[in-house]
């Protein structure tokens, strides 16, 4: 479904990612792991069209989409739930959702999808007229995910969905990701909670200083690296002589 080949992104003279390659098949749940600054968010943002790549190719459903504007990529079927949620604080919950459905103009479909999202996120149903900025962190995260789902994405990219949430809400978010997966949504997940992520994903990529250092199933990743050390950017993480599994 998605193939990223040799993707590089620069911010001025600084390389954020260098030669990143990854792929996702339809229905998969794949994690992108790595320490702060490893290039996870840049990778997602570049796939979503928010950042122009310096070089490399992004193929989605058979079409090269690198460098295309974000609105085009969303219409193609990729939705990003960004780190920090980026919900519109002055817009009500229902207005946020309506904008999420922008690419699907039918009012009837919007009402049907809204009802479906309320079923999936009951708390949002109680907050429909409330301004997005007044929701709690967990509610905002649910709104950000619901808003992304309103465009019926073929690929949903979640950037740190549990960041800043209480342990109870983190449980809810992971349960939700499980439910989305069960519904057949293809997901690319960036998550700081590595252990929890490896519990639910099919495969994972490990990024370090802008490069893919390892790829494999959760068991392979666990066998290969010190999971605890990933988010400390621990250089001693024992990839050792085996190199990556890729």
């Amino acid at each position: 479904m998605l193939t990223v080949k040799d993707l590089s992104v620069r911010y001025g003279a600084i390389s954020a990612i260098r030669g990143v390659s990854l792929s996702i098949r339809e229905g998969e749940l794949v994690a992108l792991l790595g320490a702060n600054g490893a290039g996870k968010t840049t990778t997602l943002t570049t796939i979503a069209g928010g950042q122009k790549p310096h070089q490399g190719a992004i193929e989605f459903l058979g079409e090269q989409i690198q460098g295309r504007p974000p609105e085009y990529i969303t219409r193609k079927g990729i939705a990003l739930v960004p780190e920090g949620r980026d919900i519109f604080p002055s817009l009500s919950v229902v207005e946020n959702m309506r904008l999420g459905a922008f690419v699907r103009r039918s009012r009837v479909e919007f009402q049907r999808d809204l009802a479906e999202m309320i079923e999936l996120f009951p708390i949002l149903g109680q907050r429909l007229r409330q301004a997005g900025g007044t929701l709690s962190g967990g509610e905002q995260q649910q709104l950000a995910i619901a808003r992304a789902l309103m465009c019926h994405p073929r690929l949903l990219m979640l950037d740190e969905p549990s960041l800043g949430l209480s342990p109870l809400l983190v449980d809810e978010i992971f349960a939700l990701i499980g439910r989305l997966r069960a519904r057949g949504v293809t997901i690319l997940l960036v998550e700081q909670n590595v252990d929890r992520s490896l519990d639910i994903v099919d495969r994972a990529y490990l990024l370090r200083t802008g490069r893919v250092e390892a790829e494999g199933t959760p068991d392979q990743i666990r066998a290969l690296v010190d999971v605890e050390g990933i988010y400390l950017g621990d250089r001693r993480t024992p990839l050792g002589d085996q190199g990556a599994l890729r």
Binding site: A48, G49, G50, P69, P70, E71, T74, R75, L80, P82, D86, F88, P89, S90, L91, E95, R98, L99, G100, F102, V103, R105, R147, C151
Partner: protein, 297 residues
């Protein structure tokens, strides 16, 4: 002495300034661009009225609607021709472009028409008054208030109930995320410029109505008013722009009444002292908008 005609006059000035400020903020909120060519849209509307008056006799309201339409079209075209090609560049490039457009339009008026003032036709009610409770109230003031209320109400309906309106408000909050939801940047920006042109055009009718004339530099004063009103209200808030416009207009009227005759020529200086005091107390303006400062084209 505060009388009914004074209150109507203050409210009329505030209403006009509110529309002015809103037209500037709707573009600034999305592009982070203070459009210095905004005042020239008022000039264009005024000259359109002048040119239309030279042709076959048309009812004033028809000429006014056509003139506002020319301002809308000009605003759209400035975005399409001048701003869109540099949108990906630095904010400085956008700012310089807005100066260039402003200078270009002013000089075009100077060369094509005349550096001297040209008379514009006005509707009869611009010179008529109404007697209410012993006060003489110019009808143009009531017309300005009524027009502003209707336009603001229509804008509220557009911004609250249509998908395009919601997208415009969202883009003011966070343009990058708005695009990530599939909203085309060109659609939102073109709509913002068109609305900005509409508001400038309508204000232009009242602005030229003060002196029944138009000059190439007529846009400078309303541009300054719009800028100061948006600073008072909050540069990133549509509601703030309206509030800032009314506060500016009403304060300006009050200063005119409260100042002694000998100090009236310093009216604007006193106004700016008040503006500075407001900004010292609320640097972000009276109404705080979204915090985002990102500009993505």
């Amino acid at each position: 002495m505060i009388t009914l005609d004074f209150l109507v006059n203050a409210l009329s000035l505030g209403s006009t300034y509110a529309l002015l400020a809103l037209g500037m903020v709707i573009v600034y909120g999305i592009l982070n661009l203070v459009n210095f060519a905004y005042g020239e849209l008022i000039m264009i509307a005024g000259y359109s009225l002048f040119v239309l008056s030279l042709g076959p006799s048309l009812p004033w309201i028809v000429m006014a609607i056509l003139s506002v339409g020319v301002a809308v079209l000009t605003s759209y075209l400035t975005e399409r021709v001048a701003f869109r090609p540099v949108r990906q560049s630095s904010p400085t490039a956008m700012l310089i472009t807005s100066f260039a457009v402003s200078t270009l339009l002013q000089n075009a008026a100077l060369l094509i028409i005349s550096p001297r003032a040209r008379g514009v036709p006005l509707a009869r009610l611009f010179s008529e008054s109404l007697q209410v409770l012993g006060a003489t109230i110019p009808l143009r003031n009531l017309l300005a208030i009524g027009t502003s209320v209707v336009l603001l109400a229509l804008l509220v309906v557009l911004l609250r109930t249509t998908v395009l309106g919601i997208a415009l408000r969202a883009a003011s909050d966070n343009f990058r995320m708005t695009r990530m939801l599939g909203v085309p940047a060109n659609l939102v920006i073109s709509a913002a410029f068109a609305i900005s042109g509409l508001l400038a055009g309508v204000v232009g009718m009242f602005w030229v109505g003060r002196t029944a004339s138009v000059t190439p530099t007529i846009g400078a004063a309303p541009l300054l008013v719009a800028f100061v009103a948006t600073v008072i209200g909050g540069m990133r808030s549509l509601e703030g722009a309206v509030v800032g416009g009314y506060v500016y207009g009403i304060l300006f009227s009050f200063i005119g009444v409260l100042l002694p005759q000998g100090l009236l020529e310093f009216r604007e200086a006193f106004m700016f002292i008040i503006v500075i005091l407001i900004l010292l107390l609320r640097p972000e303006g009276l109404i705080r908008g979204a915090y985002s400062t990102r500009r993505i084209g």
